[in-house]
C-alpha cells in the first residue's frame, strides 16, 4: 500500500496469521523451537492462589471446589475503584485469593495491600456468605492468558445458581455511532447479558455493530456457552486514567439484584 508521500507501507493484514508466522509455519518445529515455546508458555502461566484453601497442616493447596452463588468481577482501574468505594468499603469482606501472572505489560504484585496504580488481581469473600466472591482485576490479562484465567477461576467454583456480574471500561472512541463520538455525552453505561440472565439491566443494551473484547468478552462468552446467567456493564469513557466521573458512572449498577444486598452505606445520589 502506497501512502500520499509515495512510500510503500505494509498494511496490517486481517488474515490473522501474519507473513512471518505463515513462513515459520511452513517449516517443521525443531526440538529447540519446542523448548523455547514451552519455556515461554511456562513463564506466561496464570496461577491462582486461594488463601482459604490452604491446608493448615501441610501448607499445600487442596483441589476442592468451593460453592459460589455470586461472582462480581471488576476489570480495569475505574471499575476496581468503583467496587472499592461502594462495595468493599463496608468492611464485610475478607481476602480469599490472588492471581499471579506475568506478561509484557505487567507483573502482578504479591501483597493484598495494594495501591490503585499497582497491577494486581485479588479475590474477596463476603464474611456473612462465603459463596459470594468478588474479584478486583487491576492488571492486563493478555490474549493468550485469558482462557487460562477463565478456566482456572471458574474451574474452582462449584456453581450453585451462580450469577455473574462484570464491570469494565473502554475508550469512548471505540463506540460506533452514526453521529461523531466527539459530541456524545460521556461517560455512559451499556450492558450485554447472556441468554440465561433474566433480570432487567440497569442501563440500555449495547447495540450492534458494537462489540466487546478482552477479558470481559472471555468471561461473558464462557457464561453464554455454559448457560450461566451473567451481565456485563461496560462504561464508555474519554478519560484514560483513574477518574471519579467515570467511577460514578457505574452507580446505576448498585440497584441491580446482585449488588443491592451488598451495599450497606446509604448513598447520597446527586442525580
Amino acid at each position: 500500500m502506497a501512502t500520499f508521500f509515495g512510500e510503500v507501507v505494509a498494511a496490517p493484514s486481517r488474515a490473522g496469521v501474519d507473513e512471518e508466522e505463515e513462513v515459520a509455519g511452513e517449516r517443521e518445529e525443531t526440538p529447540e523451537d519446542r523448548e523455547i515455546r514451552r519455556e515461554l508458555e511456562k513463564k506466561r502461566e496464570v496461577h491462582i492462589l486461594w488463601s482459604s484453601k490452604l491446608s493448615a497442616s501441610t501448607g499445600s493447596f487442596t483441589d476442592e471446589q468451593f460453592p459460589c452463588s455470586k461472582f462480581i468481577l471488576a476489570i480495569g482501574h475505574n471499575s476496581v475503584a468503583f467496587l472499592s468505594s461502594f462495595v468493599l468499603n463496608s468492611g464485610c469482606w475478607e481476602a480469599a485469593g490472588s492471581v499471579k501472572l506475568w506478561n509484557e505489560w505487567c507483573r502482578t504484585s504479591n501483597t493484598t495491600s495494594v495501591l490503585p496504580t499497582d497491577a494486581f488481581c485479588l479475590f474477596y469473600k463476603l464474611i456473612s456468605d462465603p459463596t459470594v466472591l468478588l474479584c478486583q482485576c487491576n492488571c492486563y490479562v493478555a490474549e493468550d492468558q485469558q482462557y487460562q484465567w477463565l478456566e482456572k477461576v471458574f474451574g474452582c467454583m462449584r456453581e450453585e445458581d451462580l450469577q455473574v456480574t462484570i464491570l469494565s471500561t473502554c475508550p469512548l472512541t471505540d463506540y460506533k455511532t452514526p453521529e461523531s463520538t466527539l459530541t456524545l455525552p460521556s461517560p455512559f453505561l451499556k450492558a450485554l447479558k447472556t441468554k440465561d440472565f433474566k433480570e432487567t439491566t440497569c442501563c440500555p443494551l449495547l447495540e450492534q455493530p458494537n462489540i466487546v473484547q478482552g477479558l470481559p468478552a472471555a468471561v461473558l462468552s464462557y457464561c453464554q456457552v455454559w448457560q450461566i446467567p451473567a451481565v456485563l456493564y461496560q462504561c464508555y469513557t474519554d478519560v484514560i486514567k483513574l477518574d471519579t466521573v467515570t467511577i460514578e458512572a457505574f452507580k446505576p449498577v448498585l440497584s441491580s439484584k446482585n449488588l443491592k444486598s451488598l451495599v450497606k452505606v446509604k448513598l447520597n445520589f446527586k442525580d
Partner: protein, 266 residues
C-alpha cells in the same frame, strides 16, 4: 469443541455440507458467510468453544427485530439449515498468537467426528501477489482435495472454473518444484494440506482482493459459491449470478469504517 445451544439433543450433521471462512485478507470469507447465514435465516445451533480465537462478544449480528436483537453472540458459532443439509461455522475474530495450528487440528477432528459429507472453505488472497497471467480474467479460484475430486471435479469443469495455480518453490532457481501458496489466506493452505493428507473432502473457494471496502468481494465470492450450491435462486437463469439484492446485508455491517465525522471538521 462444539457445544450445542440449549438443552435439546445435539444436532446431527451427518451428510451435511460444512461451510466455513478462513480469516483472510479483507475478511472476505467471513463477510460471505454472514451473507449466507442472514439471507437463508439460518438458526444458531451451537458454539465452537475454543481458546485459539481472540474472545469477542456482541449482540445478535443478524437481528431483524427488537425481540431477537438481544441474543448474545460470541466469536465462533454454528448455524444449521437441515432443509439444505447445510451447516455453517462463522469465525469472528483472529487467532491467538501461535494457536492457529491447534485450531486446525480441533476443527478437522470435529469435521471427522460429525461425519460431514464435505467441507467448503471460503477464503481470499492478496491481489498484489498475482502474476501477469492471474491479472487477466476472473479473480476467483477453487481447490479440491483428492477425496472430493471424484464427486466435484466434473462440475468444476462444467462451470468453467479456474483452479488455483501452483508457484515455484524456489523462483528464479528452478521451476520444477511447484507448491501451493495462498498469501494472505490465513490458515487456508494448512487446512487444505491437512485435509488432503487425511482424506477429507474439502473444497476451497477464494478470491484475489486487497484490504478496503470488501463488500463487493464478498458478494462476488458468495455468488461463486452459489453457482455450485444453488443456495439462492438467480433471477434470470442459472448461469447469471444472483443480483446483490438477493443477498441480504446484515445490520452488523453498518459503520464498517467507524463512527460519523465531527461536524467541526468541515
Amino acid at each position: 469443541m462444539f457445544v450445542p445451544c440449549g438443552s435439546s439433543a445435539p444436532p446431527d450433521f451427518e451428510g451435511f455440507t460444512l461451510l466455513l471462512p478462513a480469516v483472510s485478507v479483507g475478511n472476505v470469507g467471513q463477510l460471505a458467510v454472514d451473507l449466507v447465514i442472514f439471507t437463508l435465516d439460518m438458526p444458531k445451533v451451537g458454539y465452537f468453544y475454543t481458546d485459539c480465537l481472540v474472545p469477542m462478544v456482541g449482540n445478535n449480528p443478524y437481528a431483524t427485530a427488537e425481540e431477537n436483537s438481544t441474543e448474545l453472540s460470541i466469536n465462533a458459532e454454528v448455524y444449521s439449515l437441515p432443509s439444505k443439509k447445510l451447516v455453517v461455522l462463522q469465525i469472528r475474530s483472529p487467532f491467538v498468537k501461535n494457536k492457529y495450528r491447534s485450531f486446525c487440528q480441533t476443527l478437522l477432528s470435529w469435521v471427522k467426528s460429525s461425519r460431514c459429507a464435505k467441507v467448503i472453505l471460503l477464503s481470499s488472497s492478496h491481489a498484489y501477489q498475482c502474476d501477469d497471467q492471474q491479472l487477466h480474467g476472473t479473480p476467483l479460484r477453487y481447490l479440491l482435495s483428492p477425496a472430493i475430486q471424484k464427486t466435484a471435479g466434473e462440475l468444476m469443469q462444467r462451470l468453467n472454473w479456474k483452479e488455483m495455480e501452483k508457484v515455484a518453490a524456489y523462483p528464479g532457481v528452478n521451476d520444477t518444484d511447484m507448491v501451493l501458496r495462498i498469501p494472505g489466506g490465513g490458515i487456508t493452505t494448512l487446512l487444505f494440506s491437512e485435509s488432503c493428507s487425511n482424506g477429507i473432502q474439502m473444497a476451497v473457494l477464494l478470491k484475489f482482493c486487497s484490504e478496503g471496502d470488501n463488500i463487493p468481494d464478498a458478494l462476488a465470492l458468495v455468488n461463486y459459491l452459489n453457482e455450485w450450491l444453488q443456495l439462492v435462486k438467480s433471477e434470470q437463469n442459472s448461469a447469471a449470478p444472483a443480483t446483490p439484492s438477493q443477498w441480504k446485508i446484515p445490520h452488523s455491517w453498518r459503520l464498517l469504517f467507524g463512527s460519523g465525522l465531527p461536524p467541526a471538521l468541515f
